[in-house]
Symmetry: D2
Subunit: 252 residues, 4 copies
């Protein structure tokens, strides 16, 4: 059996009367669940229900923290200062820990969402603020993010566990970054995603959009939950990983 890989996905992204994605089906597939914490999506009821559903399946729970922008789903860079980012992370992380604890579960890691994910990939002071916020609340938490990011460097500098992730269903460029979502070819079909997942999990080369090949060392693979073919893709990935003898195992 080859080396293990973690599969993570965003869940709990409904709000009030609105639903988003098929969380139960996704939780049946992944090993780690990024749970929205109420700022960009999610509410207390959804958070508790999602934590309970993850716990039942032995799926690890991560705090998917974002900017306070429900209307923009956390996808807009909001210009928060590093201090404001730390405050927002601590609040959301605490809230999710409360929700998880209330159903007998616990939070194992943190992953920034949307515009915050992009911000802390590049902005060192924001990245440091997130890492310090995590340490201030619970130094046992792992931090999940992109390889080479400021976020993971900050987490490492503070002695936190940090975990790299890649994306199965998004195309990479030669610069080892995801292609912009708005560009043609940026989203892979289920078969392409399955192939890329196997490459990521086995340390094989990942094909870039320009025909080249890059190597990405990742311990987790992110599956998307809200696209039209999301579940189909997720199932294709899990099936291909099984065929390739890759063990699915949570990192945390």
């Amino acid at each position: 059996m080859g080396r293990p890989i973690d599969l993570n996905a965003d869940v709990g992204e409904g709000f009030g009367a609105w639903r988003s994605g098929d969380d139960e089906a996704l939780l049946d597939l992944v090993t780690s669940a990024n749970v929205a914490c109420g700022f960009h999506a999610g509410d207390a009821a959804t958070m508790r229900r999602t934590c309970a559903a993850a716990r039942e399946r032995g799926v690890r729970i991560g705090a998917h923290v974002g900017f306070p922008d429900l209307a923009g789903f956390g996808r807009r860079e909001m210009g928060l200062s590093a201090a404001e980012i730390a405050d927002a992370v601590i609040y959301q992380l605490g809230a999710l820990r409360g929700c998880a604890g209330s159903v007998g579960a616990r939070v194992s890691y943190l992953k920034p969402h949307g515009a915050l994910y992009h911000r802390v990939s590049e902005d060192g002071s924001a990245a440091a603020a997130v890492a310090e916020a995590v340490r201030a609340v619970d130094p046992e938490l792992a931090v999940l993010g992109p390889p080479g990011s400021r976020l993971l460097a900050s987490a490492a500098a503070l002695g936190l566990s940090y975990v790299t992730e890649g994306f199965a269903d998004r195309a990479y460029g030669e610069d080892r970054r995801l292609l912009d979502r708005r560009r043609p070819g940026s989203e892979l079909d289920p078969r392409g995603a399955a192939d890329q997942a196997v490459a990521l999990a086995t340390g094989a080369a990942v094909r870039t959009t320009s025909g080249g090949a890059i190597e990405l060392e990742v311990r987790s693979i992110c599956l998307h939950g809200d696209g039209q073919r999301a579940l189909e893709t997720a199932r294709a990935v899990v099936s291909a990983l099984g065929t390739a003898d890759v063990e699915l195992r949570p990192f945390a």
Copy 2:
């Protein structure tokens, strides 16, 4: 020296650019701080700053949980179901625990705010929901509320610590309840509040608005922080309690 009494006050009730009350001055006087948790007032930065200020002074920290109604300051009964109340309490309690923990402090008790305070005084299923929410997050937390309330009965039934409180600056009626805030004579002046505080703390009779006398057994006295004469009243109360040889001591 007589029996001890706790003094509690609402703090951290600003939001964003808006301030409310003189928290530093109040925290110099009280032994327990009811910290707003972001639903009816308060935000992450204010919560962390307030917890740090309380910790510096040895003041106990309580989660002042309310309805999700920033525009109404949590003073409007919102018709949440018992389950929705439990969710809201767990989320807010978790968030404050995160904020407190991040500054080396911890949350010792919970007190409902505004319309939720009134709701759980009378509504047994809502009261049970709050008590169960507290227990689900941390069974070591005390619950602070009015004597004879459904809230404290529910807390007691679940084996939680429960603490009764009275009000120094609000007049009581013969039914042992606070007079409606809109009625004349419902608010006591600093001297009247000081006298009432001493009566509450020493187990002496409290004068009612109709000239009668009632006995109220309370372990904490609530001081208000946002009225015009709030600080003057708070200082008069503390001074009178000192003169009466009452020891100020946190209940938690």
Copy 3:
């Protein structure tokens, strides 16, 4: 050809990244569109897009005003005072008028949503507040609501146009009220809804759940858009009304 009837439906109930219902399909069927105004659902982009889609089809636009409770979808009675209700109505109505005007459309009527709909059916001062709010912004607006409600009485008293509505897909009791949504038999299947719509439109007796018959004089019929069989029901109603030679015509 018989007397005309209006068909109204709730649209524009998404928020940010969340969608709700198939507005385009509903707008192809109805003559009046109740557009959410951002308090219980809807946002500026959705409001403008929905107004444009209604205008293209000659569908009248109504302000579907609700309580400021996005998390509760406006379905929780929030305890707003009559003055606060008037403020909320004026703000939402103005916002929708701005959105409609920006796409060359105009608002023709107002209908309260959810818990506010129920509140102003029974509470005279709240009903008067809504009617006065409508008059203060635009006395040409019609008010849509249930027959016999305080809302329509208040509208009439102020000289506003008022329009009664019935429900095709909800069962009525002997008291001429809708059966509680949680009771069995409260929701009619497409065929039952079609029959009831024809009865409402033609002035025939409506069958109650207890086997009796009531007469309801309504000028509009409300179709729901967010249930699972909503569109199927809507199409059955429109088809049955056509067969019964009922003309669909907006009231405003």
Copy 4:
């Protein structure tokens, strides 16, 4: 008597239970009132009350539109697209028109607030979006902003009235821009503000922080309302303008 000048100030910046500034006193001094519209500050009750107070005094009403960021008071650049900015402007403008109309007043102009003010000073597509939004709602509205801004250029290009403003109590640099608020010397004392206001109103040279002199042609002067010495400054400005024989007259 010399040429006239308009004085504008931000008002209605409370929210719910929170107050900000002494609006009544400011409205006694200015000729134009920038009324917050509920996104960065303000609520429906405050908006209606403020419009009524402005109307009583013959003060013109402007829509002070901002980003949807109550927690950040609209001072954080939020990364809204130009289309999202247009939507937000139209919604807020409509809401204020509703509130104004309900008290017999009307909106005469629009001024962006905070981070949006800065955004549309520099960003041409955002500026065009605001100007088009204004025109789409009411082409009779004037647009108030800084001289040389993209905002006023866009307004001019669409045939809208546009009005330049300067600041009495903020220091200018050689580049004709305001000095950053965080730099020493960026805020003028009442006497300095009074001198600068007279210079702005009479077309005299304005002294820069580096000792130079610039000319700024403005038709309105902005007074701040929420600083500690705000009212003292406002009164000093009005007094100095009177002494200098400058007529206060609204631009709209």
